[in-house]
Amino acid sequence: MPAGGPTRFSVSGAIPIHSKRVSHPPGQPASSALPLVDLVDLSVSLGGTPVLSGCRLTLRPGESLGVAGPNGAGKSTLLGVVATFIAPTGGSGTVLGAPLASPRVPAVRPGIGWSGHLPALYPDLTLGENLTLNAQLTGYPASQGQMVLEQVGLGAAAGIRAERCSNGMLRRADLARLLIGSPRLVLLDEPDAGLDQDAAPIIDHLIRKTTTRGGAVLCVSHDADKLSGWVDRVVEMRDGRIM
């Protein structure tokens, strides 16, 4: 169930997001049936301790999948593997067509958007500088930074240093990072943590924007009910296995 239609989405107020379409560099037609994520019997052990085992997961264009599970189930590790941060120790997988841990991985990274537990912002830089740096490094004009901040309702806060922002503002700014350049694969780790009611539609918008353009979304949370409000399908994870 998509929790809210476009009418409910009122975060940015002035700027309708869909009109600001940006082209994405590693673009493939949305109709491509090739899975964006395909994990086969994948396992990960960290320091000899198995964290994931026998994970199978396929995400096709236009799909959004939620993974629910208790603390320590391996959800964040799964997200880290799909984000190409953590190399699998067993099994195999491809992300955006690149086999995991292969030399082709760095080339597909700009097509991945990830937001973790903690915001990836520099406390000494302003929100605007943070987002601008991200946009410029990804190959987009600096103005993209300001634009996405306005989309998440932080247009007026662009000049404030991140260290002076509230948790909720930081979460919003971190989600704004994923709006830069519309990544084909969006990965969210407990995205609503610290977000207020007004900001909740940002997650909805981000997921819908990605899937309607032929991208895919993987979202993990301990709360299965909340997940089912955001994504099409929810699976459960326990003891490092996808049930």
Binding site: S45, G47, G48, T49, P50, P70, N71, G72, A73
Partner: protein
């Protein structure tokens, strides 16, 4: 079996080396102190050999990502640190009576050996702090690679330093050696090299077993359970 044969051969060679070290004639100038060199020179040779192999292992891992390179690098570094320590200690013990000082700042080899000792001590410390074998391989291969670049430069710069400043000490270069002394030294060099090969093979095998054991150690799958607050209340 081949491993055991090598170990036996090493034992025999070391025994022969020891006998020759004690039966060779004393030096005209150094007297019996020269016997220290039969341990010192082969140890120093092993130190350079071992760190050379560690460097090769590090670069090999960076390019191939095969764990076997990392195991060789690790094993060789451990042996290298041990023999560097022996080389430094015996060098100082020999240096005091012969050169009149424990530490000669003019000797580029000494400075380089000491620096290598510190670098690879750090290398081993770095390895100890990381439990995950793959992460450990990454970290240490990078350090091993930087060391390759810097160690030769240290040797060169200390040499340059002293040539520009005039030598301070009388170096026992160009001393003619008796035939029996040369053979004692050569046998010990060969014996120590065999010792290196034996230690390397055994240590690499041990590393492989350690990794296998670490992979087998499967802990309880889920350490997080449902809190039983009611029971605690009761």
């Amino acid at each position: 079996m081949k491993k055991r044969l090598l170990a036996v051969l090493t034992g025999v060679a070391l025994g022969a080396g020891l006998v020759l070290a004690f039966t060779s004639p004393p030096d005209l100038l150094q007297g019996d102190f020269v016997r220290i060199l039969y341990i010192h020179v082969p140890s120093a040779w092993l130190a350079f050999l071992a760190f050379g192999v560690t460097a090769a292992g590090s670069i090999g891992w960076l390019f191939t990502r095969r764990m076997s390179w990392d195991r060789v690098a690790e094993a060789s570094a451990e042996i290298g640190v041990l023999f560097t320590a022996i080389a430094l200690a015996t060098g100082m013990i020999w240096g005091k009576p012969v050169w009149g000082t424990y530490w000669d700042w003019g000797d580029a080899r000494l400075a380089t050996t000491a620096m290598m000792f510190f670098v690879y001590l750090g290398y081993l410390a770095l390895r100890r702090t990381t439990t995950d074998p793959r992460l450990r391989a990454r970290r240490s291969s990078v350090l091993g690679t930087i060391a390759v670049v810097q160690v030769p430069l240290v040797y060169f710069s200390v040499k340059l330093w002293r040539t520009l400043h005039q030598g301070l000490t009388i170096r026992p270069d160009g001393i003619q050696m008796d035939g029996a002394m040369v053979s004692a030294l050569l046998v010990n060099l060969a014996a120590f090299t065999l010792l290196y090969a034996t230690l390397l093979i055994y240590r690499t095998a041990l590393a492989r077993m350690e990794e296998a054991a670490a992979a087998e150690r499967v802990p309880a799958q889920s350490p997080v359970t449902v809190p039983r607050l009611r029971e605690a209340d009761a």
